[in-house]
Protein backbone atom coordinates (compact mmCIF):
# COMPACT_ATOMS: atom_id res chain seq x y z
CA UNK A 1 0.00 0.00 0.00
CA UNK A 2 1.60 3.13 -1.08
CA UNK A 3 0.63 6.63 -2.13
CA UNK A 4 3.36 8.48 -3.87
CA UNK A 5 7.07 8.96 -3.51
CA UNK A 6 8.25 12.02 -1.73
CA UNK A 7 10.53 12.96 -4.57
CA UNK A 8 13.37 15.22 -3.64
CA UNK A 9 13.48 18.28 -5.75
CA UNK A 10 16.19 20.73 -4.94
CA UNK A 11 15.22 22.93 -7.83
CA UNK A 12 17.91 21.30 -9.91
CA UNK A 13 17.89 22.12 -13.56
CA UNK A 14 17.76 19.46 -16.21
CA UNK A 15 21.34 20.12 -17.20
CA UNK A 16 22.63 19.43 -13.74
CA UNK A 17 20.63 16.17 -13.56
CA UNK A 18 22.44 14.72 -16.53
CA UNK A 19 25.42 17.06 -16.88
CA UNK A 20 27.97 14.37 -16.15
CA UNK A 21 26.36 11.67 -18.23
CA UNK A 22 27.76 10.36 -21.49
CA UNK A 23 25.47 11.94 -24.12
CA UNK A 24 25.53 8.87 -26.39
CA UNK A 25 24.59 6.48 -23.56
CA UNK A 26 21.96 8.92 -22.35
CA UNK A 27 20.39 9.21 -25.79
CA UNK A 28 20.24 5.42 -26.16
CA UNK A 29 18.74 5.10 -22.67
CA UNK A 30 16.06 7.71 -23.38
CA UNK A 31 15.29 6.19 -26.78
CA UNK A 32 14.78 2.80 -25.18
CA UNK A 33 12.29 4.23 -22.70
CA UNK A 34 10.53 6.27 -25.38
CA UNK A 35 10.10 3.07 -27.39
CA UNK A 36 8.31 1.52 -24.41
CA UNK A 37 11.16 -0.88 -23.64
CA UNK A 38 12.15 -1.67 -20.05
CA UNK A 39 15.41 -0.90 -18.28
CA UNK A 40 16.96 -3.95 -16.57
CA UNK A 41 19.35 -4.13 -13.58
CA UNK A 42 22.74 -4.11 -15.26
CA UNK A 43 21.83 -1.64 -17.99
CA UNK A 44 23.57 1.68 -18.15
CA UNK A 45 21.38 4.29 -16.47
CA UNK A 46 21.83 7.93 -15.41
CA UNK A 47 22.95 8.31 -11.79
CA UNK A 48 19.88 10.39 -11.05
CA UNK A 49 17.57 7.70 -12.48
CA UNK A 50 19.10 5.09 -10.20
CA UNK A 51 18.98 7.40 -7.20
CA UNK A 52 15.34 8.37 -7.64
CA UNK A 53 14.26 4.79 -8.30
CA UNK A 54 16.06 3.45 -5.24
CA UNK A 55 14.43 6.18 -3.17
CA UNK A 56 11.01 5.47 -4.59
CA UNK A 57 11.06 1.66 -4.45
CA UNK A 58 12.61 1.75 -0.99
CA UNK A 59 9.91 4.13 0.30
CA UNK A 60 7.33 1.86 -1.23
CA UNK A 61 8.84 -1.22 0.47
CA UNK A 62 8.99 0.57 3.83
CA UNK A 63 5.35 1.60 3.39
CA UNK A 64 4.35 -2.03 3.03
CA UNK A 65 6.27 -3.11 6.11
CA UNK A 66 5.10 -0.20 8.26
CA UNK A 67 1.65 -0.51 6.65
CA UNK A 68 1.35 -3.94 8.24
CA UNK A 69 1.27 -2.28 11.67
CA UNK A 70 -1.92 -0.14 11.77
CA UNK A 71 -4.02 -3.05 10.50
CA UNK A 72 -1.97 -5.48 12.56
CA UNK A 73 -3.41 -3.58 15.54
CA UNK A 74 -6.64 -5.57 14.98
CA UNK A 75 -5.19 -8.92 13.95
CA UNK A 76 -5.89 -10.55 17.31
CA UNK A 77 -9.36 -9.02 17.57
CA UNK A 78 -10.96 -9.58 14.15
CA UNK A 79 -14.60 -10.61 14.74
CA UNK A 80 -15.38 -14.09 13.46
CA UNK A 81 -13.51 -16.69 11.44
CA UNK A 82 -14.02 -15.04 8.07
CA UNK A 83 -12.56 -11.68 9.12
CA UNK A 84 -9.83 -13.27 11.20
CA UNK A 85 -8.52 -15.31 8.27
CA UNK A 86 -8.84 -12.47 5.78
CA UNK A 87 -7.08 -9.89 7.94
CA UNK A 88 -4.21 -12.27 8.65
CA UNK A 89 -3.87 -12.94 4.92
CA UNK A 90 -3.99 -9.25 4.12
CA UNK A 91 -1.35 -8.21 6.63
CA UNK A 92 0.76 -11.15 5.44
CA UNK A 93 0.46 -9.87 1.87
CA UNK A 94 1.79 -6.47 2.93
CA UNK A 95 4.88 -8.15 4.36
CA UNK A 96 5.15 -10.15 1.14
CA UNK A 97 4.96 -6.94 -0.90
CA UNK A 98 7.72 -5.44 1.20
CA UNK A 99 9.85 -8.50 0.46
CA UNK A 100 9.25 -8.19 -3.31
CA UNK A 101 9.96 -4.48 -3.35
CA UNK A 102 13.13 -4.66 -1.29
CA UNK A 103 14.37 -7.24 -3.82
CA UNK A 104 13.56 -4.87 -6.70
CA UNK A 105 15.44 -2.04 -4.97
CA UNK A 106 18.37 -4.35 -4.22
CA UNK A 107 18.89 -4.90 -7.96
CA UNK A 108 19.83 -1.21 -8.09
CA UNK A 109 22.63 -1.69 -5.59
CA UNK A 110 21.29 -0.98 -2.10
CA UNK A 111 21.19 -3.91 0.30
CA UNK A 112 18.12 -4.81 2.36
CA UNK A 113 20.14 -4.27 5.53
CA UNK A 114 21.02 -0.70 4.47
CA UNK A 115 17.42 0.04 3.59
CA UNK A 116 16.22 -1.35 6.93
CA UNK A 117 18.79 0.72 8.79
CA UNK A 118 17.64 3.84 6.98
CA UNK A 119 14.04 3.05 7.86
CA UNK A 120 14.76 2.47 11.54
CA UNK A 121 16.94 5.55 11.89
CA UNK A 122 14.22 7.70 10.32
CA UNK A 123 16.41 8.62 7.35
CA UNK A 124 14.10 7.04 4.75
CA UNK A 125 10.46 7.96 4.50
CA UNK A 126 7.36 5.86 4.07
CA UNK A 127 3.75 6.67 3.35
CA UNK A 128 2.55 9.24 5.83
CA UNK A 129 -0.80 7.61 6.27
CA UNK A 130 0.66 4.80 8.40
CA UNK A 131 1.60 7.22 11.12
CA UNK A 132 -2.04 7.47 12.14
CA UNK A 133 -3.63 5.18 14.73
CA UNK A 134 -6.24 2.53 13.94
CA UNK A 135 -8.51 3.35 16.87
CA UNK A 136 -11.31 0.88 16.20
CA UNK A 137 -12.05 -2.19 14.13
CA UNK A 138 -13.74 0.10 11.60
CA UNK A 139 -10.42 1.88 11.04
CA UNK A 140 -8.95 -1.37 9.81
CA UNK A 141 -11.88 -1.67 7.39
CA UNK A 142 -11.44 1.88 6.08
CA UNK A 143 -7.69 1.33 5.65
CA UNK A 144 -8.23 -1.94 3.80
CA UNK A 145 -10.71 -0.36 1.46
CA UNK A 146 -9.63 3.21 0.83
CA UNK A 147 -5.90 3.22 1.49
CA UNK A 148 -5.54 0.12 -0.61
CA UNK A 149 -7.72 1.73 -3.27
CA UNK A 150 -5.42 4.75 -3.32
CA UNK A 151 -2.41 2.47 -3.44
CA UNK A 152 -3.82 0.65 -6.45
CA UNK A 153 -4.29 3.91 -8.36
CA UNK A 154 -0.61 4.68 -7.75
CA UNK A 155 0.69 1.18 -8.31
CA UNK A 156 -1.21 0.60 -11.55
CA UNK A 157 0.33 3.80 -12.90
CA UNK A 158 3.81 2.82 -11.71
CA UNK A 159 3.53 -0.70 -13.11
CA UNK A 160 3.73 0.94 -16.57
CA UNK A 161 7.02 2.58 -15.57
CA UNK A 162 10.41 1.93 -17.13
CA UNK A 163 12.28 -0.20 -14.59
CA UNK A 164 11.71 -3.93 -15.23
CA UNK A 165 12.11 -5.36 -11.70
CA UNK A 166 9.79 -2.72 -10.19
CA UNK A 167 7.14 -3.34 -12.88
CA UNK A 168 7.27 -7.09 -12.33
CA UNK A 169 6.88 -6.69 -8.57
CA UNK A 170 3.99 -4.28 -9.09
CA UNK A 171 2.14 -6.63 -11.43
CA UNK A 172 2.00 -9.23 -8.71
CA UNK A 173 1.28 -6.65 -5.99
CA UNK A 174 -1.65 -5.16 -7.92
CA UNK A 175 -3.18 -8.61 -8.35
CA UNK A 176 -3.01 -9.19 -4.59
CA UNK A 177 -4.22 -5.70 -3.74
CA UNK A 178 -7.44 -6.39 -5.62
CA UNK A 179 -8.20 -8.98 -2.93
CA UNK A 180 -7.47 -6.31 -0.28
CA UNK A 181 -9.80 -3.86 -1.96
CA UNK A 182 -12.63 -6.40 -2.17
CA UNK A 183 -12.07 -7.46 1.42
CA UNK A 184 -11.98 -3.83 2.59
CA UNK A 185 -15.12 -2.92 0.68
CA UNK A 186 -16.95 -5.99 1.97
CA UNK A 187 -15.91 -5.09 5.49
CA UNK A 188 -17.06 -1.45 5.18
CA UNK A 189 -20.34 -2.51 3.56
CA UNK A 190 -21.10 -4.90 6.43
CA UNK A 191 -20.49 -2.11 8.95
CA UNK A 192 -22.38 0.54 6.99
CA UNK A 193 -25.40 -1.69 6.46
CA UNK A 194 -25.27 -3.24 9.92
CA UNK A 195 -26.45 -2.09 13.34
CA UNK A 196 -26.50 1.55 14.41
CA UNK A 197 -23.33 0.96 16.44
CA UNK A 198 -21.51 -0.55 13.48
CA UNK A 199 -22.59 2.28 11.23
CA UNK A 200 -21.46 4.89 13.73
CA UNK A 201 -18.08 3.14 14.01
CA UNK A 202 -17.43 3.25 10.30
CA UNK A 203 -18.62 6.85 9.89
CA UNK A 204 -16.35 7.89 12.73
CA UNK A 205 -13.38 6.09 11.19
CA UNK A 206 -14.07 7.67 7.81
CA UNK A 207 -14.15 11.14 9.37
CA UNK A 208 -10.77 10.58 10.99
CA UNK A 209 -9.11 9.03 7.95
CA UNK A 210 -10.32 11.51 5.35
CA UNK A 211 -7.55 14.05 5.75
CA UNK A 212 -4.76 11.42 5.75
CA UNK A 213 -6.36 9.95 2.62
CA UNK A 214 -6.39 13.36 0.91
CA UNK A 215 -2.73 13.71 1.91
CA UNK A 216 -1.99 10.25 0.53
CA UNK A 217 -0.99 11.30 -2.99
CA UNK A 218 1.07 14.24 -1.79
CA UNK A 219 0.74 17.96 -2.55
CA UNK A 220 0.35 19.29 -6.09
CA UNK A 221 3.56 18.76 -8.03
CA UNK A 222 5.59 21.79 -8.79
CA UNK A 223 5.99 21.33 -12.50
CA UNK A 224 9.70 21.74 -12.85
CA UNK A 225 12.23 20.51 -15.37
CA UNK A 226 13.12 17.91 -12.74
CA UNK A 227 9.57 16.56 -12.63
CA UNK A 228 9.41 16.56 -16.42
CA UNK A 229 12.63 14.58 -16.65
CA UNK A 230 11.36 11.98 -14.17
CA UNK A 231 8.15 11.69 -16.15
CA UNK A 232 10.04 11.32 -19.43
CA UNK A 233 12.14 8.60 -17.81
CA UNK A 234 8.91 6.92 -16.65
CA UNK A 235 9.95 7.05 -13.02
CA UNK A 236 7.03 9.26 -12.14
CA UNK A 237 3.99 8.15 -14.10
CA UNK A 238 1.25 10.57 -13.16
CA UNK A 239 0.97 13.81 -11.24
CA UNK A 240 -0.19 13.73 -7.65
CA UNK A 241 -3.26 15.75 -8.57
CA UNK A 242 -4.22 13.41 -11.39
CA UNK A 243 -3.99 10.40 -9.12
CA UNK A 244 -6.04 12.14 -6.44
CA UNK A 245 -8.71 12.97 -9.02
CA UNK A 246 -8.80 9.37 -10.27
CA UNK A 247 -9.20 8.14 -6.71
CA UNK A 248 -11.99 10.60 -5.90
CA UNK A 249 -13.76 9.71 -9.12
CA UNK A 250 -13.73 6.03 -8.35
CA UNK A 251 -14.46 6.01 -4.63
CA UNK A 252 -16.43 9.05 -3.48
CA UNK A 253 -19.59 7.84 -5.27
CA UNK A 254 -19.17 4.41 -3.68
CA UNK A 255 -18.86 6.00 -0.23
CA UNK A 256 -21.93 8.16 -0.80
CA UNK A 257 -23.80 5.09 -2.09
CA UNK A 258 -23.62 3.67 1.41
CA UNK A 259 -25.17 6.83 2.84
CA UNK A 260 -21.89 7.69 4.53
CA UNK A 261 -20.67 11.27 4.58
CA UNK A 262 -17.25 12.82 4.14
CA UNK A 263 -16.07 15.62 6.41
CA UNK A 264 -15.63 18.18 3.65
CA UNK A 265 -18.63 20.30 2.72
CA UNK A 266 -16.79 21.63 -0.33
CA UNK A 267 -16.31 18.19 -1.84
CA UNK A 268 -18.15 17.97 -5.16
CA UNK A 269 -17.53 17.24 -8.78
CA UNK A 270 -17.65 20.31 -10.99
CA UNK A 271 -19.70 19.27 -14.04
CA UNK A 272 -18.04 21.89 -16.21
CA UNK A 273 -14.41 21.05 -15.52
CA UNK A 274 -15.23 17.40 -14.76
CA UNK A 275 -12.85 17.75 -11.79
CA UNK A 276 -13.42 17.23 -8.11
CA UNK A 277 -13.30 20.30 -5.92
CA UNK A 278 -12.43 20.03 -2.25
CA UNK A 279 -11.06 21.93 0.69
CA UNK A 280 -7.31 21.92 0.41
CA UNK A 281 -6.04 19.56 3.17
CA UNK A 282 -3.65 21.06 5.69
CA UNK A 283 -0.23 20.54 4.11
CA UNK A 284 1.54 21.91 7.17
CA UNK A 285 0.23 18.89 9.11
CA UNK A 286 1.43 16.64 6.28
CA UNK A 287 4.92 18.09 6.52
CA UNK A 288 4.96 17.73 10.29
CA UNK A 289 4.02 14.06 10.04
CA UNK A 290 6.67 13.36 7.38
CA UNK A 291 9.23 14.92 9.63
CA UNK A 292 8.48 12.48 12.41
CA UNK A 293 5.85 14.33 14.44
CA UNK A 294 2.74 12.34 13.55
CA UNK A 295 0.72 10.54 16.21
CA UNK A 296 2.42 7.16 15.68
CA UNK A 297 5.80 7.77 13.98
CA UNK A 298 7.80 6.97 17.06
CA UNK A 299 5.91 3.78 17.84
CA UNK A 300 6.05 2.50 14.27
CA UNK A 301 9.82 2.76 14.12
CA UNK A 302 10.26 1.39 17.64
CA UNK A 303 8.21 -1.67 16.70
CA UNK A 304 10.32 -2.33 13.59
CA UNK A 305 13.48 -1.90 15.65
CA UNK A 306 12.13 -4.38 18.19
CA UNK A 307 11.23 -6.91 15.46
CA UNK A 308 14.73 -6.73 13.98
CA UNK A 309 16.29 -6.96 17.43
CA UNK A 310 14.16 -9.96 18.49
CA UNK A 311 15.09 -11.81 15.32
CA UNK A 312 18.78 -11.08 15.63
CA UNK A 313 19.87 -14.21 17.53
CA UNK A 314 17.93 -16.42 15.13
CA UNK A 315 19.51 -14.86 12.07
CA UNK A 316 22.98 -14.71 13.55
CA UNK A 317 22.85 -18.39 14.46
CA UNK A 318 22.10 -19.41 10.89
CA UNK A 319 24.46 -17.09 9.04
CA UNK A 320 27.11 -19.17 7.33
CA UNK A 321 30.69 -17.90 7.32
CA UNK A 322 30.83 -18.70 3.63
CA UNK A 323 27.82 -16.55 2.78
CA UNK A 324 28.51 -13.88 0.21
CA UNK A 325 26.06 -11.19 -0.76
CA UNK A 326 25.09 -10.81 -4.39
CA UNK A 327 22.13 -8.64 -5.34
CA UNK A 328 19.11 -10.61 -6.61
CA UNK A 329 19.07 -11.08 -10.36
CA UNK A 330 15.88 -9.47 -11.47
Amino acid sequence: MYGNAYVENNGQQHNSLTANEDPIQLAAFEARIAAGDKIEPHDWMPTEYRKQLVRMIEQHAHSEIIGALPEGTWITRAPGFRRKLALMAKVQDEVGHGQLLYSAAETLGKSREDMTNDLISGKSKYSNVFNYPALTWADSAVIAWLIDAGAIVNQLANSKGSYGPYCRALDRICAEESFHLKYGHDNVVFLATGTATQRAMVQDALNRWWEPIMHFFGPSDKMSVHTETLMRWKVKMATNDDMRQTFLDMYVPKIWDLGLTLPDTELKKNPETNKWEFTEPNWEVFKQVINGNGPCNKERLAVRRMAEEKGRWVRRALLSEKAEYVAPLA
Binding site: D43, T73, T76, G96, A302, E309, L319, V326, P328, L329
Partner: protein, 128 residues
Protein backbone atom coordinates in the same frame (compact mmCIF):
# COMPACT_ATOMS: atom_id res chain seq x y z
CA UNK B 1 9.30 4.17 29.08
CA UNK B 2 7.66 1.13 27.49
CA UNK B 3 5.20 1.72 24.70
CA UNK B 4 1.52 1.39 25.53
CA UNK B 5 -0.01 0.72 22.16
CA UNK B 6 -3.47 0.33 20.67
CA UNK B 7 -2.06 -2.97 19.42
CA UNK B 8 -2.08 -5.40 22.35
CA UNK B 9 0.76 -7.36 20.73
CA UNK B 10 2.97 -4.30 20.82
CA UNK B 11 2.13 -3.50 24.42
CA UNK B 12 3.00 -7.10 25.38
CA UNK B 13 6.38 -6.81 23.67
CA UNK B 14 7.51 -4.27 26.32
CA UNK B 15 9.31 -2.02 23.87
CA UNK B 16 11.43 0.75 25.24
CA UNK B 17 10.32 3.77 23.25
CA UNK B 18 13.81 5.24 23.24
CA UNK B 19 15.86 2.12 22.56
CA UNK B 20 18.45 2.77 19.90
CA UNK B 21 19.58 -0.77 19.08
CA UNK B 22 18.58 -2.70 16.01
CA UNK B 23 21.28 -1.62 13.55
CA UNK B 24 21.84 -4.33 10.94
CA UNK B 25 25.19 -5.45 9.60
CA UNK B 26 25.87 -6.67 6.07
CA UNK B 27 24.45 -10.17 5.49
CA UNK B 28 22.20 -9.93 8.57
CA UNK B 29 19.38 -10.90 6.22
CA UNK B 30 21.52 -13.55 4.54
CA UNK B 31 22.30 -14.08 0.89
CA UNK B 32 19.72 -14.51 -1.82
CA UNK B 33 18.35 -17.46 -3.76
CA UNK B 34 16.56 -17.26 -7.08
CA UNK B 35 13.22 -19.05 -7.21
CA UNK B 36 11.80 -20.99 -10.17
CA UNK B 37 8.33 -22.50 -10.10
CA UNK B 38 6.68 -25.09 -12.29
CA UNK B 39 2.94 -24.52 -12.48
CA UNK B 40 2.08 -27.96 -13.81
CA UNK B 41 3.84 -31.06 -14.99
CA UNK B 42 5.00 -30.83 -18.55
CA UNK B 43 5.69 -27.07 -18.42
CA UNK B 44 8.98 -25.25 -17.88
CA UNK B 45 10.09 -23.90 -14.53
CA UNK B 46 9.82 -20.12 -14.63
CA UNK B 47 11.76 -17.53 -12.63
CA UNK B 48 9.42 -15.78 -10.19
CA UNK B 49 11.72 -13.83 -7.86
CA UNK B 50 14.15 -14.30 -5.02
CA UNK B 51 14.28 -14.93 -1.28
CA UNK B 52 16.80 -14.14 1.42
CA UNK B 53 17.71 -17.34 3.26
CA UNK B 54 20.57 -18.94 5.22
CA UNK B 55 20.43 -22.31 3.43
CA UNK B 56 18.84 -23.98 0.39
CA UNK B 57 16.40 -25.87 2.64
CA UNK B 58 15.07 -22.70 4.24
CA UNK B 59 15.12 -20.93 0.88
CA UNK B 60 12.75 -23.62 -0.36
CA UNK B 61 10.55 -23.34 2.75
CA UNK B 62 10.42 -19.54 2.34
CA UNK B 63 9.88 -19.61 -1.43
CA UNK B 64 6.96 -21.98 -1.06
CA UNK B 65 4.95 -19.45 0.93
CA UNK B 66 6.18 -16.24 -0.68
CA UNK B 67 5.68 -17.40 -4.27
CA UNK B 68 3.06 -20.16 -4.26
CA UNK B 69 0.58 -19.29 -1.53
CA UNK B 70 -1.97 -18.51 -4.24
CA UNK B 71 -2.42 -20.57 -7.35
CA UNK B 72 -1.00 -23.71 -8.74
CA UNK B 73 2.50 -25.10 -8.37
CA UNK B 74 3.90 -28.63 -8.53
CA UNK B 75 7.64 -28.07 -8.20
CA UNK B 76 10.13 -25.46 -7.02
CA UNK B 77 13.79 -24.85 -7.67
CA UNK B 78 15.94 -22.54 -5.61
CA UNK B 79 19.42 -21.58 -6.77
CA UNK B 80 21.97 -19.41 -5.01
CA UNK B 81 21.98 -16.12 -6.90
CA UNK B 82 25.76 -16.08 -7.00
CA UNK B 83 25.77 -19.42 -8.84
CA UNK B 84 23.72 -18.10 -11.76
CA UNK B 85 25.86 -17.07 -14.68
CA UNK B 86 24.20 -14.36 -16.75
CA UNK B 87 24.80 -12.58 -20.03
CA UNK B 88 25.18 -8.81 -20.07
CA UNK B 89 22.51 -6.69 -21.74
CA UNK B 90 25.33 -4.87 -23.52
CA UNK B 91 26.00 -8.17 -25.25
CA UNK B 92 22.41 -8.48 -26.43
CA UNK B 93 23.65 -7.97 -30.00
CA UNK B 94 24.98 -11.52 -29.99
CA UNK B 95 21.35 -12.63 -30.31
CA UNK B 96 20.50 -10.26 -33.12
CA UNK B 97 21.73 -12.16 -36.17
CA UNK B 98 19.59 -15.18 -35.39
CA UNK B 99 16.58 -13.74 -37.21
CA UNK B 100 18.43 -13.44 -40.49
CA UNK B 101 19.54 -17.07 -40.45
CA UNK B 102 16.62 -18.27 -42.53
CA UNK B 103 18.25 -21.60 -43.30
CA UNK B 104 17.44 -22.63 -39.70
CA UNK B 105 13.73 -22.07 -40.16
CA UNK B 106 11.22 -24.48 -41.70
CA UNK B 107 9.66 -21.83 -43.89
CA UNK B 108 12.96 -21.35 -45.69
CA UNK B 109 12.20 -24.61 -47.46
CA UNK B 110 9.31 -24.20 -49.91
CA UNK B 111 9.44 -26.70 -52.73
CA UNK B 112 5.79 -27.20 -53.56
CA UNK B 113 6.00 -24.91 -56.63
CA UNK B 114 8.93 -26.86 -57.87
CA UNK B 115 7.08 -30.15 -57.40
CA UNK B 116 3.99 -28.86 -59.16
CA UNK B 117 6.04 -27.55 -62.04
CA UNK B 118 7.74 -30.92 -62.35
CA UNK B 119 4.40 -32.74 -62.31
CA UNK B 120 3.08 -30.40 -64.94
CA UNK B 121 6.12 -31.05 -67.11
CA UNK B 122 6.04 -34.82 -66.87
CA UNK B 123 2.27 -34.96 -67.46
CA UNK B 124 2.67 -33.13 -70.77
CA UNK B 125 5.39 -35.55 -71.84
CA UNK B 126 3.33 -38.67 -71.13
CA UNK B 127 0.40 -37.52 -73.24
CA UNK B 128 2.55 -37.20 -76.34
Amino acid sequence: MNIKSLDPRVTRANIDENAQDGVLNPLDHFQTYEVFEQKKRGTHHIHVGSVHAPSPELAMIFAKEQYTRRGQCVNLWVVKTQDVFVTEYTDADIFETTASKKYREPDAYKVIDRINAYKERTKTKSTI
